[in-house]
Structures are given as structure tokens and as C-alpha cells.
């Protein structure tokens, strides 16, 4: 298969950047999107040009490192799929494919398609943990967890922190990510203890990072490779409301 790529090239964080066209030739249909980029990069290196910088790690859809906006949709528009798990057979031979980085003030572009997602780390550092005293390994099942709650917590914990929710949101809001991280711990007995403090600190950090606000468009949920539900945002709002009421009374 052959494609025309329009790729965002930007030397470094201070460069203004621009879209540049490349030809992707002799691509095998069963290659992943990232393997296709590898082939293009090999061609660029052979010609002595700077390869296209993009993020990837596991390439099996579990780490959340790959982060490409493909033809205007974060991760390319195949439901529940990261860019690394998207295959070229889903494209048409001869198609033009636009590739851009996540675009948000809180995710500055470092180079080409690579952004700095440190904002997510700082949000997790603000409250995405439970406080325990170290010591002997606790017994398994010492704290009983209901099946329904544990399933819900697992649904939230499926978030791989890729940032597609921010990339897709018209407001560059991180609420789906934060809601998943808050809910996953707030739902479990180990996390309930610090429920109010967690939701407050994480929302405060989210605001400080300069993300936008949710307007309930549902774009985040639609592009999320782990199909995290919008209902978690409602849950986070409720947790925040409860914390606010408790603090003000």
C-alpha cells in the first residue's frame, strides 16, 4: 500500500512547526500505524534526514505512550484502540493521512509528535495513591471488596493515561482522566479513607495545569482506547461536591 502523509514537524519546544508531506511507499497492510512510521523513518534516515519523532513503548495497547491524532481523531478513530494497535488495512490505498500531536496548553510539544504529558504525572502525584505504613505484606483478602464495586474500580483503573481524552475534547479538558484516577481509588475500601482529600487535590492540580472544563460533549469517551465511561466524570463531580459540602460545614 502507498500513502501520502501530512505530518507535524517541529524541531523543539520553541520552534513554530509546520505540516510536511511525505510519501509512505510499499507498506504492508498488516503493519501497525507505528510500524508504518518506522518504515518512513528508515527512508528518511537513509536519505540523511531527521526521522519523525513520535512516542511509543509497549506497542500492544497497554502503556498509553503512543499519542497520535490521525486524520483529526485521537488514536485514529477505531473504537477502543490505541494508535499502536491500529493497522494499515483500515486505511485506503493511496489515501492522504494527517498526523498531529496531542494539542493542549498543558501538553506542550517537545518535538514533532512528542508532547510532554508531565501534567498527568503531577495530577497523580497530587492524590492518585493511598497512604499505607510499610511493614509485612498484608494478607490477601484481609479487606473484603464487593464484586460490583471492584468491577467498577477495575473499569476506571483500565485508564492507561494516554491523554486522548484531552486531545479529543474541544476544551482540552482532562476530566475523564482525572475522574478515572479518582474513582478507581475512591471506590475501594483502601482508597475511601482519603476520598475527599484525593478528589480535591487532584481537581486542584488539574486546574493548575491549565486544562479546560468539561462541557459533556462525550468526545473523550468516544476516543478513549479503554472506553472509560463519562459516568466516571459524574461520579468525580459528586465526590467533589460531597468534599466541598463537608469542608464548608
Amino acid at each position: 500500500m502507498n500513502f501520502t502523509l501530512r505530518v507535524w514537524r517541529q524541531k523543539d519546544a520553541n520552534d513554530t512547526g509546520a505540516m510536511v508531506e511525505y510519501a509512505a511507499k510499499d507498506i504492508i497492510a498488516d503493519m501497525s500505524f507505528l510500524e508504518m512510521l518506522d518504515v518512513v523513518n528508515e527512508g528518511l534516515i537513509a536519505k540523511g534526514e531527521e526521522p519523525i519523532a513520535f512516542d511509543s513503548d509497549c506497542r500492544e495497547g497497554i502503556c498509553g505512550t503512543c499519542s497520535l491524532v490521525i486524520n483529526g481523531i485521537a488514536h485514529g478513530g477505531q473504537r477502543g484502540t490505541t494508535a499502536c494497535q491500529l493497522h494499515m488495512r483500515h486505511f485506503e490505498d493511496g489515501q492522504t493521512i494527517t498526523i498531529e500531536p496531542w494539542r493542549a496548553r498543558a501538553f506542550p510539544v517537545l518535538k514533532d509528535l512528542v508532547t510532554d504529558r508531565g501534567a498527568f504525572d503531577r495530577i497523580v502525584q497530587a492524590g492518585g495513591f493511598i497512604s499505607v505504613n510499610t511493614g509485612g505484606t498484608p494478607d490477601a483478602n484481609a479487606i473484603p471488596v464487593g464484586k460490583v464495586e471492584s468491577d467498577k474500580a477495575m473499569d476506571a483503573a483500565a485508564c492507561i493515561g494516554c491523554g486522548a481524552c484531552v486531545a479529543a475534547c474541544k476544551n482540552a479538558s482532562a476530566m475523564l482522566f482525572v475522574a478515572a484516577k479518582v474513582s478507581h481509588l475512591n471506590l475501594l475500601p483502601q482508597g475511601k479513607v482519603e476520598k475527599d482529600k484525593r478528589v480535591t487535590s487532584m481537581v486542584t492540580q488539574m486546574d493548575a495545569e491549565g486544562f479546560g472544563n468539561c462541557t459533556v460533549t462525550g468526545s473523550c469517551e468516544a476516543v478513549c482506547p479503554k472506553e472509560i465511561s463519562l459516568n466516571f466524570i459524574a461520579r468525580m463531580n459528586r465526590d467533589y461536591g460531597v468534599a466541598l459540602l463537608k469542608a464548608s460545614t
Binding site: N71, R103, T217, A234, N237
Partner: protein, 245 residues
């Protein structure tokens, strides 16, 4: 964390938006029920008008309350929208709309046009500025047989203007759009939602918005189709007879 987070944080401002939005939604429903009394005839709606105007200690607190609510709603709308714009300084070269409905993407615009409509509406039927009603009549001097303000005649004459009718219908259409998204967003913002009845809330939002739209536009449309014209004309005949005498 303290109560100032309500005004400073993202989620807090969404609470303000949602609570004031809910209050406005309830007002819109009550106002519609009041207005629909026009279909019970001149006597019913004129008595209702006289009742409201006769209880200043009720109507003024309600007006001031509504003004504060609208103020907070618009304040949080602008504040949140400005933050949203700032959150993506560099736009995408190509961006597809995924899942987001037209209504959800245009809330600020539908909101602002509704605000402009509210100002016009107040000048039209509350302050009754003759210049804006486009009929050349003065609404303040209309009286019925009981010497009450003739609200029925004011509404009928008001909506006999086709331009005014079209503007009202247009504004109500935007209110429909605003509420079809807003009412379900409100439950989401307040966290009054769980997976079980999420789809029920979305359906309630759309059905309620449709009912509000149909309810409001039924009045100008009925007038355009001739409702109330015989009542209005009976006054013109009386006036003519006075002149003849």
C-alpha cells in the same frame, strides 16, 4: 478546601452553572404554564397578570432572584469558556467532530442569543416600550372590561406582527437546543447520575425541551392563525362606535 472553591475550581463553576441552569429551567417551565392560560381566554390570563402585578412583595424578590441567577449563569459560562479557549492555544490542522452533538458545541452561542432575546422580551412585554413591538400600539394603556391591564390583548396584538413571531420562534428553537443538552449536562455536572438511569436522563432532557419548545411557540402560532383576533377587534368596533357617537 473551602466554599471559595465553588467559585474558583473547574468543577465548582460547573456546579454554579448547573444549579443556576436548573433554577432557570424550572422558571421556564412555570412561566410556560402561566402563559398557556392565554388559551383559557382573556379573563383567566388577565386575572393572572393582575395577580402578579398586585403582589409586588412577591414579584420583586422573584425578579431580583432571577437576575442574580442569570448573572451567575452567564458569569460562569463566560469564565469557563475563556478557560476552555485558553486550554488549546494551537488548533489542529485537521479535526473531526467525534460524538459531540451540535447543541453541545454551541452552548455559549445559543446562550448569548437567548440572553439577547430575554432583554428584548422584557422590553416588549414587561417594560412595554412601544418602539420595540413593531405594531405602532402602546401596550401600557390596554385595559379590559374590569379596568385591568389587558394582557390577552397585548399578547394577541404583539404576535400579530410576523417579524416578532418569527424572532420568538427562533429564540425558542435556540432554547430547545440549549436545554436538550443543558438538562442532561446538569445532572452530569452535579453527579446526580449513575449508569442505570443515564439514558433516561438524556431522554428526559430531550422530551422536556421539545415540550417547552412546542408549548411556547403554540402561542404566537395560534395568534398568527387568528386566535384572539375577534376579541381584539371587538375593542376596535367599540372604539369606532365611540367615534361615530
Amino acid at each position: 478546601m473551602n466554599i471559595t472553591n465553588l467559585f474558583r475550581s473547574s468543577v465548582g463553576k460547573k456546579f454554579i452553572m448547573a444549579i443556576t441552569g436548573m433554577a432557570l429551567f424550572l422558571f421556564v417551565v412555570l412561566h410556560l404554564l402561566g402563559n398557556l392560560q392565554i388559551f383559557l381566554g382573556p379573563e383567566a390570563i388577565n386575572r393572572y397578570g393582575a395577580f402578579l402585578q398586585g403582589n409586588l412583595e412577591l414579584i420583586w424578590p422573584a425578579r431580583i432572584g432571577l437576575l442574580i441567577i442569570v448573572g451567575l449563569h452567564i458569569w460562569s459560562a463566560i469564565k469557563l469558556a475563556v478557560e476552555n479557549r485558553a486550554a488549546r492555544p494551537q488548533p489542529y490542522a485537521q479535526q473531526e467532530i467525534v460524538a459531540a452533538s451540535y447543541a453541545s458545541r454551541t452552548m455559549v452561542w445559543s446562550g448569548f442569543i437567548i440572553a439577547a432575546f430575554i432583554i428584548y422580551h422584557l422590553l416588549h412585554f414587561t417594560v412595554q416600550v412601544p418602539a420595540v413591538n413593531l405594531t405602532g400600539k402602546n401596550f401600557t394603556t390596554l385595559e379590559d372590561a374590569k379596568n385591568q391591564h389587558d394582557v390577552f390583548r397585548m399578547m394577541v396584538i404583539g404576535f400579530q406582527s410576523r417579524v416578532v413571531t418569527l424572532f420568538y420562534i427562533f429564540a425558542m428553537w435556540l432554547l430547545f437546543l440549549h436545554l436538550s443538552h443543558g438538562v442532561s449536562a446538569m445532572f452530569q455536572s452535579l453527579g446526580w447520575k449513575s449508569p442505570g438511569y443515564g439514558s433516561l436522563i438524556a431522554r428526559f432532557a430531550v422530551v422536556a425541551s421539545w415540550l417547552i419548545f412546542v408549548g411556547y411557540i403554540s402561542i404566537p402560532i395560534a395568534v398568527q392563525l387568528g386566535y384572539g383576533s375577534s376579541y381584539v377587534n371587538s375593542f376596535n368596533v367599540n372604539a369606532l362606535q365611540e367615534v361615530v357617537k
